[in-house]
Amino acid sequence: MSHTETHERSLLGFWIYLMTDLLSFGVLFATYAVLSPNTAGGPNAKELFSLPFVLIETLILLTSSFTVGLAMLAVFKQAKQQALIWFGVTFLLGLTFLGMELYEFNNLIAEGASWERSAFLSSFFTLVGTHGLHISVGLLWMAVSMVMIWKRGLTPFINSKLTRLALFWHFLDIVWIFIFTIVYLLSYV
């Protein structure tokens, strides 16, 4: 089996995996849409979220999606140094995004608005939390990939895995668009 054939096949397999992940997020979105009015007498969305903070988060994640694209351009040009730099920038942006999210969660829990307070908060924490979990998996994967690039250089074997990493990162930004719109923007409408 030639190398491009295996690369092509694992790319399609990974793409279909991303589609199944999207469907799991679909269930979380449907649960959020159905349960968000049920605040059980507790605080509702408008009182809890600060839009400017979330806008910054969104722009950071968007930029990281752009820089991972640049990293892939460097990979195709076999520019190992450049690829490492751009992956590093993407990693830092992703880390800041995660940090901001954990900061926001911490404030909510400190205010007593934890996932145990109401069905709305349960569905909020689970939807945004699952996205945050996926970001952490992406960051771990990126860290391991950067070590691989540094030690083994840009071989076809590693390039094929980096394509899938970039695909995964872009996919997380797509899911975040809808979290930003449906969870945060719609709460202020």
């Binding site: 589609m19 679909g26 351009l73 809808f178 930003f180 719109t181 409408v189």
Partner: protein
Amino acid sequence: MFKSYLLGFILSILLTVAAYLLVVNNMLSQGVLIIVILALAVIQLWVQLIMFLHLGQETGPRWKLISWISTASVLLIVVIGSIVIMNNLNYHVPSDQEIIENEGIHQSH
């Protein structure tokens, strides 16, 4: 390739900030605003799918595009189906209003 990433990046920023400003300054009426920001989100989705994920530019049978379309339709069935069904069912949950009216007032048929 660089151009497609850059274009996708700029377009996405514009779409995000546009939706943000619309909501924060409360420019449109509620119903229209919901539709507009959802539309902006869907546009940004397509922009990123084409510019970042290069959807539809595969050689040979386009399995990625077909699996994306089938997943998107299942997603719509799941989300919209749930909302429609749960609202139809919830029609009978006594809303706050109904409970306030009933508080202690015994309805005799």
